[in-house]
């Protein structure tokens, strides 16, 4: 009996509040008094990748820091699928009311360039700011006969067609690094599970792998993996990678690395974008975020980029990747 009563009261309460909700919802739109944006309800950031991955942890750490700046809660909504395209599409389908943003990397754009999807990723989303810029490195198993870039190229020359490089997406930035770094001499092989790729490198089933430094730092520390080359402008300062040559030193142009940023959709109020950008800059500069970035090895490249810089970098990426993969 008690249960029924409780249910009844709850139902009644719900009905009343629902009616009230419909009544005043019309008036609570954006309130842009004298150009200042005021945050009234929770902000949602859509993450096109699943819980637990690099993209997800980045945006969650960012969201926690951003909450303190905005004064309202910031929630992350994971909409994964189709290499990120599903999430991008969902974000674009939401009303551009200044409360919905998208976290994205160049991967969904690459899916468009390579023809995997017809969705106009590049045209539909606009860069707002960059949070972090990760890099890629080439690693090999401890027992492989080459220890640095020079020895590797000699080995490739002596054994043409033998060396393969494991990547996570054949149309991704890691494959772009293989393509730009080795031309046709090393064939990329796609893996669906990062764990399998790492195990295959250590077990000697695949010769090389193009991965992010954080994922393999434990294996480098234990000596199970050797780093051959970092796809960066300068040498990395991470433990065990200080003496590894970087792409610029050996004269290669393969600097692609996942840059994770926040994007907005067409029609988002100007004032909201400005307010978000200002708050995001403070959030990225906060100690919590910076400490996390350092621990994840994400402090190797400049992370924060404002709207203008990020837009320029995004457009440049689009041009370079279209040249490499465009049909």
């Amino acid at each position: 009996m008690k249960k029924k009563l409780l249910a009844l009261t709850m139902a009644a309460a719900m009905a009343v509040t629902a009616l009230a909700g419909c009544g005043n919802s019309g008036s609570s739109g954006g309130s842009a008094d004298n150009g200042e944006w005021k945050w009234e309800r929770k902000v949602e950031i859509i993450c096109p990748w699943g819980t637990g991955g690099g993209a997800d942890t980045t945006v969650r750490t960012f969201a926690t820091a951003l909450e303190k700046e905005l004064g309202v809660s910031v929630v992350v909504n994971n909409k994964s699928g189709a290499g990120g395209v599903t999430g991008v599409e969902f974000a674009c389908s939401q009303p551009a009311d200044g409360y919905t943003y998208l976290m994205c990397t160049p991967s969904p754009m690459l899916a468009q360039i390579s023809g995997a999807t017809d969705y106009d990723v590049y045209g539909k989303i606009n860069p707002l700011c960059q949070m972090v810029h990760d890099c890629n490195i080439f690693v090999t198993g401890a027992s492989s006969p080459y220890n640095n870039y020079q020895e590797l190229t000699d080995y490739i020359a002596a054994n043409p067609g033998k060396v393969k490089c494991g990547v996570m997406t054949i149309t991704g930035l890691d494959a772009a690094c293989v393509e730009a770094g080795f031309g046709g001499t090393v064939e990329p092989v796609a893996y669906t599970e990062g764990s399998q790729l790492n195990a295959d490198v250590i077990g000697g089933h695949v010769d090389l792998a193009c991965v992010g430094p954080a994922e393999v730092s434990a294996m480098i520390a234990s000596g199970d993996m050797k780093v051959i080359l970092s796809c960066t402008e300068e040498r990395l300062s991470l433990a065990g990678m200080e003496n590894v040559e970087c792409a610029k030193e050996v004269g290669l142009d393969c600097f692609f690395g996942p840059s994770r940023g926040i994007f907005y959709t067409e029609g988002t109020p100007e004032a909201a974008i400005k307010a978000f950008e200002a708050a995001a800059e403070k959030a990225i500069a906060s100690d919590d975020f910076q400490n996390w970035a350092k621990q994840e090895g994400l402090d190797q490249r400049q992370g924060w980029m404002n709207m203008a810089d990020f837009k320029a970098a995004w457009d440049a990426d689009y041009k370079d990747l279209t040249e490499l993969f465009g049909k």
Partner: protein
Amino acid sequence: MDIIFSLILAIFCVYCFFLVGAESPASTPTELGAAFWPRIILVLMIILLVVNIVNSLKAQKENKSSLLGEMNLGGFFKSKLFVGMILVAVMALFMSVIGFMPDCLLFLIAYGFLLGERRIPLLVIRSLAITAVLYVIFQGALDIMLARGVGPFREFALFFEMLLPF
């Protein structure tokens, strides 16, 4: 019935066989290509479906049953089963439009009615309570962003999200 199903499936497989070839580039000496694996499956499937059709035809000759078997199509469309299927399908299709809460509520009422509950007020109250419980558990405690719907339904859902204490 089984024969028709097998036949449709077999024709569909043949279509897929050619479709997947048109969709993907040719294989290279070191890469089998995207069409290789599905084609093996499709060929095996077509063979087995033909075997199945032959088997069923044989069995039918022995039993002298009609092509549709004992299935009564007219009765099927009036049956509870068919209505149930429609309800499930409608629930799934409308979730993105009207949002989780209204969708859940309407489905619970409709399906409860289908299953023989005729005390309407009780049914409505019970459905409201269950919807509320599900909403609080999943949207609130487990932080799953349930579908909001579009237009006024979105406003409605947003309003409830603000009420949650989590």
